[in-house]
Symmetry: C2
Subunit: 185 residues, 2 copies
């Protein structure tokens, strides 16, 4: 079940470096793209950065709306994650093409992709130089959600193998989140 | 054995989101700190960004030298990775404290930490606004290395469980790089 995550804990949803699906919407258009280069950069207020290449359809939607959602997919979604990184959404509706079901987000206009393990609703912090020079978008996390089967009491548990997160190696090859290990304190 | 990685493939060494150890040196001082917030942002020329908090001793060394090394530790080093994130190097030599052996890097002055799975030698691209506003350092990767037991023919294999990379969840808790999975092409 999707449950809210306090914003001060939102960084934990992507701290282990999962590959993501970024959704965006503007006017009557929306899109989804794969993005491995997404990272938290602050705890409170929660901030992240994402590399959104200049030639993507999603980039235009984000620039128009100032919003996007970082969806954290599970290993069950591996084929969609790979395919969504290869096809542009300019012509076709990629949600329909890939059979993705969505729900409305709570604050932003971009949709949440059903079946993911976590979701971070984001509002862009305008940084023209970073966007133009490095394709880097800084964003405030304005709402966060997680599947309470995997993210329990503020921490990832990955109780089911099929709910593990994906971490992109290259091409169609990924590594899943593996064993949880603890350091001596 | 440590072998060179072509720069166009350097992004692959951190594309799956591992936690890192950042080393830096300036004058007669050097230091090592844990950093989970490190991410590739370009393929060729290879670039990455790292969040280096303003109150760290490492930050001063990086600002003075314009260089650092991103070391990618294995699960065997979990206790050092956790400890290196809690202790400042301002007073003591953390390499000695943690029993870390180092080797000289090929281009930069910061050392390579022995026992890691990969190493990226980095030269800072001056971006004062990003550094001051977000603690974000952009860097060119100027040399890259990997342990050829884990990174084979330009791809991670993780042949041995004890050589898996660490991905930080929070506090002393990490998840290891798990199973390698492939999407349908």
């Amino acid at each position: 079940m999707r449950v809210p995550v306090p914003l001060r804990r939102a960084y934990k949803l992507i701290n282990h470096g999962p590959t993501t699906l970024i959704t965006a919407a503007a006017g009557d258009r929306r899109n989804v793209m794969s993005a491995a280069w997404v990272m938290g950069i602050d705890y409170e207020p929660a901030k992240l950065i994402a590399v959104i290449a200049a030639d993507t359809f999603t980039r235009g939607l984000i620039e128009a709306s100032g919003e996007f959602v970082v969806n954290v997919p599970t290993v069950r979604m591996i084929d969609v994650v790979y395919a969504a990184g290869k096809v542009s959404g300019e012509v076709d509706d990629k949600f329909a093409t890939f059979g993705l079901t969505t729900s409305p987000a709570s604050i932003v206009g971009a949709p949440l992709v059903e079946g993911c393990a976590a979701w971070l609703e984001c509002r862009v912090v305008p940084e023209p130089h970073m966007q133009e020079s490095y394709d880097l978008f800084v964003a405030d996390v304005v709402a966060a959600w997680a599947d309470d089967a995997s993210f329990v009491d503020g921490a990832w548990r990955f109780a089911r193998d099929e709910d593990r997160t994906l971490h992109h190696l290259s091409g169609g090859v990924f590594v899943t989140s593996g064993e949880i290990v603890k350091a001596k304190s």
